[in-house]
Symmetry: C2
Amino acid sequence: MPKPPYYAVVFTALRRERPGDGYAATAARMDELARAQPGFLGVESARGADGLGITVSYWESADAVSAWAANAEHLLAQRMGRDEWYQWYALRVCRVERATEFARPESA
Amino acid sequence: MPKPPYYAVVFTALRRERPGDGYAATAARMDELARAQPGFLGVESARGADGLGITVSYWESADAVSAWAANAEHLLAQRMGRDEWYQWYALRVCRVERATEFARPESA
């Protein structure tokens, strides 16, 4: 894990589920594109049975977050998100102040 | 949505899946207890098919986060998490600097 401070973008969303809406291909492309951005540190994603999805991406700086938000291909995907894919979403840009990690010892 | 700044605690975890480990009852109790804490703003949770769970709780201040972290019953649950329930986890305390929300218009 990187040492704080760094940035986290918490994206919480409810999808509309419509066959053939092109979501999956764009989501995969955005993942690929984000990983190639300057300042990208990592991403974690989970989607529950109730349809709520949470994706948290991590970035070296607020500038790295802003540059990714303004990426041309990403802007098109954001527009598609509002026009087609999401019923609701919240996006929060956060400064990570403290971080701790636990990993179970191999033997336990 | 509350107006920034406020705090987010991003808890990302991989569970060990062991029948009868008491996890579900404690998770429900911690949810109930967190909601009753001073400064609690909300919580969002998702768990994917790959076992990765993400829970983000929101708090009015860093002090509210610290008080919840130090709650006696919560400390016991944290201990159980390390001793029994989790293979791995990461906990990040974050200051929310910007937040935007989208909700689809009723007619769309």
